[in-house]
């Protein structure tokens, strides 16, 4: 097989991996959290069942809504699929689209999805969706400087913002893994995932009260296949961020270094194990913390920002 063709095929594998495993990741996360809280919890396959059920349901669209409302689920579904082409999901060597965009592009693609979902929330005329949209953007504005600082620190530590290059830099030596700047970036990125995904200290994903929701009230008006796409897209977004976290930042090893199917399969198994570890940590963090009040989120993200500032300054004074 020609190299170009096999790289294309691997790109397909990356997308299929994301599509197939993201609902499972979310299912395991829910189940684990319920178990830690002393409950039995839903089956780990529940997200698949939900998506399947929603695809079979009729869809109701408000007459007041415009094309944005119908387009937003598609964008939310497609953007994580674009992002996974830019990051090392199963292979350690750069694939076809690897140099099309760096981590800033990843941030852009995610932001486009977030922007359209927020517009769609306001488009429906539902009061809670508009409140959710504006709150999401409040968190988003606060998270933005942290995002930029994470990129700065990563590019400073690894001399690049292309995820594949960062992965290769950190996979080569133990010394660079243990650098203080690296550790601080990992911490800050984890806080960022919590904020961006609306996990517990910032927002409660299991909450059922619309007035207390931050991000989750934006999708209230969706039904049928649009709701399925939103749900699947949300699961994929979490998995993409988790992939960046485990494959680029924490454990850059265990990815396939050849195009052999067996190596790729082994890499998929290893990445799944790494993701499982991430989910366990996330569940522990989420169940051991209490949700912050809305105006305390500023403090949460200010701490993440200062941690990033440290990462850069440790590097700057030359001891990291």
């Amino acid at each position: 097989m020609s190299p170009v063709l096999s790289h294309f095929l691997l790109n397909g594998v990356q997308m299929a991996f994301l599509l197939a495993f993201s609902p499972l990741l979310e299912g395991i996360l829910h189940r684990l959290e319920e178990i830690i809280q002393g409950k039995q919890g839903p089956s780990i396959w529940q997200t698949y069942r939900d998506i399947w059920k929603l695809f079979g349901k009729d869809e109701v669209i408000s007459e007041e809504s415009s094309w944005i409302f119908r387009l937003a689920p598609l964008i939310a579904f497609v953007m994580p699929l674009f992002v996974v082409l830019l990051i090392p999901a199963v292979t350690a060597f750069p694939l076809f689209f690897a140099f099309m965009g760096d981590m800033v592009a990843v941030g852009f693609l995610m932001a486009i999805a977030g922007f359209f979902v927020a517009l769609a929330g306001m488009d429906t005329g539902n009061v809670y969706a508009a409140v959710g949209a504006s709150r999401t953007h409040m968190v988003g504005f606060l998270a933005e400087p942290v995002f930029i600082m994470v990129f700065f620190s990563v590019s400073y530590v690894a001399n690049s913002t292309i995820p594949y290059v960062v992965n290769a830099t950190w996979a080569t030596s133990w010394g660079s893994m243990l650098q203080p700047a690296h550790l601080l970036v990992i911490l800050a990125f984890f806080l960022l995932i919590l904020a961006d995904e609306g996990r517990i200290p910032v927002d409660s994903p299991a909450g059922k009260v619309e007035i207390a929701m931050i991000g989750h009230s934006k999708g209230l008006e969706y039904s049928g296949s649009s709701a399925a796409l939103m749900k699947w897209g949300g699961a994929m977004k979490l998995m993409v961020l988790a992939l960046i976290f485990v494959n680029v930042l924490i454990t850059p090893w265990g990815l396939s270094s050849t195009t052999q199917p067996l190596d790729v399969l082994l890499a998929i198994v290893l990445v799944c194990l790494k993701l499982l570890g991430f989910v366990v940590v996330l569940a522990l963090v989420e169940t051991s913390l209490a949700k912050l009040r809305l105006f305390r989120i500023t403090e949460f993200l200010a701490v993440a920002f200062v941690i990033c500032l440290f990462a850069v300054s440790v590097r700057l004074v030359g001891i990291g």
Partner: protein
């Protein structure tokens, strides 16, 4: 003296954790959370002493690690829990003079100040292996501790600031002086729970007299 780069990087990571945990202790609004961050920070200090002891072959640092663990992770929290009583811990949030985001930014500025204050002394410490890491980290923590004392309006929380300063001083000094006799180490370390005890007793008394430990309410005379 030459040390392996893995030990150096490990100590660097511990230093980073030390800073982050100190930040946590500084900005935590609940007393329990602040105390817990302090305990974890003391554990980081213990780990750093262990790393230094292993790579410098210094038995005294092993003692420092053991003493630090016993006094700061076990004794100080016990004393503080006993002295301050449920009233302080039960309250939702500790009063501060300035808001938390401002505190965090000021902390960042102080950290930069700490780094650049140490920079001129680094050439003098060429032969001391871990000093370029531990000295600035310790100095930053001393500055942060002083800052915490200044901005908190609650005496128990101010004591946390003192303890942070103490942790910082230890973190810096273990890298510079690692052949102090054990008796001096013990003397220095046992001071900490005693300070906590004395201030704790004082706080207990103040609380008995005024019914509160908030410093902001102690600025006017009170007749019984």
């Amino acid at each position: 003296m030459q040390v392996s780069s893995v030990a150096f990087h490990l100590d660097g990571s511990i230093a980073a954790l030390f800073i982050v945990l100190g930040l946590g202790s500084m900005v935590a609004r609940q007393m329990y959370a602040s105390l817990r961050f302090f305990m974890w920070q003391a554990i980081a200090l213990t780990l750093s002493a262990l790393v230094l002891a292993a790579s410098l072959q210094a038995i005294n640092l092993l003692w420092v690690a053991i003493i630090t663990f016993v006094t700061k992770v076990i004794a100080v929290p016990l004393v503080l829990r006993w002295a301050a009583g449920a009233e302080v811990y039960g309250r939702r949030e500790v009063d501060q003079v300035i808001g938390i985001p401002t505190t965090v930014l000021a902390a960042a500025m102080l950290a930069l100040l700490g780094w650049f204050a140490v920079a001129p002394t680094l050439p003098l410490l060429q032969g001391v292996p871990f000093a370029p890491l531990n000295l600035p980290t310790g100095l930053i923590m001393v500055l942060w501790g002083a800052f915490t004392v200044a901005i908190r309006r609650e005496s128990v929380a101010q004591l946390m600031g003192l303890l942070l300063m103490e942790n910082g001083a230890f973190f810096g000094s273990i890298a510079i002086v690692h052949n102090l006799t054990v008796i001096a180490e013990i003397a220095a370390a046992v001071d900490v729970p005693i300070v906590a005890l004395v201030i704790g007793l004082l706080i207990r008394n103040i609380r008995r007299v005024t019914g509160s430990t908030r410093v902001s309410e102690l600025d006017r005379l009170h007749e019984r």
